[in-house]
């Protein structure tokens, strides 16, 4: 069972709230202060991706975040319910993503068009922030699982 579970309406304004909650729970779970900025940014990226997917496909469905203290790891799972075309490992919008590798900067500038950047860019950023990232796709949506080392929480 998740230590903390949050569901929110897929509105951009709520992504900040999700970031703040995740950072607070990470701190409470004993994640090193030096890593909290990474948790905040990675969770924000995952939630932004999910919100955009829901707004396109299922704006009435909430986005879910589960934060679990597993003793030595603090685990965050951000799940959406937007339909994907392919199962397995996917990036934003269901496109394949090479984890741990951000798209080339020149390619980003070449293809960037307001309001966005290439599909999968947010997930590539997450991969650069969390040392353990798993992106999985099922018929019911995409799930981004991230974890960071944590110490045992104080009583």
């Amino acid at each position: 069972m998740a230590t903390v579970e949050v569901t929110f309406t897929p509105l951009p304004a709520h992504v900040r709230t999700a970031r703040l909650v995740a950072t607070a729970v990470a701190r409470r779970s004993g994640v090193n202060e030096a890593l909290l900025d990474e948790v905040r940014l990675a969770v924000g990226e995952a939630c932004s991706r999910a919100v955009e997917a829901h707004r396109r496909h299922c704006p009435a469905e909430p986005v879910k975040i589960e934060m679990t203290d597993q003793g030595e790891r603090f685990v965050v799972v951000v799940s959406d319910h937007a339909p994907t075309t392919t199962a397995g490992s996917v990036g934003a919008n269901g496109h394949a993503v090479s984890q741990g590798t951000a798209p080339g900067a020149a390619a980003v500038v070449q293809s960037a068009d307001d309001p966005g950047i290439p599909a999968g860019f947010g997930l590539a950023v997450i991969s650069g922030l969390a040392d353990d990232v798993r992106v999985s796709s099922t018929s019911s949506g995409v799930s981004v699982r991230m974890s960071w080392p944590s110490a045992a929480p104080t009583a």
Binding site: P12, A13, V15, R16, R19, D37, R40, L41, G44, E45, S48, V51, E52, A102, P103, G104, A105, A106, V108, V109, A112, D113, D114, P115, G116, I117, F121, G122, A124, V125, G128, L129
Partner: protein, 116 residues
């Protein structure tokens, strides 16, 4: 914290002051300002990010979009940023090679003048 935006002209270069958090919610306001400045023929831009507390890939996309717009007019968009937590996302994405990143607004302006 919400996003606060301001801008002023110094030595023919438009300086945009950004304060607060740039994310999926607030980034559209920064995008609108950059578009407005370019539409008013400001093609030499410096975005001062010293008071930015948070920046995500949506914000990066807006900055890259602004860079593309000014480049279309042979202009440039430089950044002022010394905060490690903000610089980190530029490094992760390789965008440190795309933007001129300076320590102060004066340094950014001086660099732009030397390019002319």
């Amino acid at each position: 914290m919400d996003l606060k935006l301001g801008h002023y002209n110094k030595d023919g270069i438009e300086v945009v002051d950004v304060e607060g958090e740039i994310d999926v919610y607030t980034a559209p306001r920064l995008r609108e300002l950059l578009i407005d400045l370019v539409n008013k023929n400001n093609y030499q831009l410096v975005v001062n990010m010293e008071k930015v507390e948070f920046l995500d890939s949506t914000g990066l996309g807006v900055l890259v979009g602004g860079l593309k717009r000014v480049r279309a007019h042979d202009g440039s968009l430089d950044l002022v940023c010394t905060q490690e937590r903000i610089l980190k996302i530029f490094r992760i994405t390789g965008l440190t090679k795309v933007f001129g990143i300076h320590n102060t607004v004066d340094e950014a302006i001086a660099a732009k003048k030397s390019e002319k």
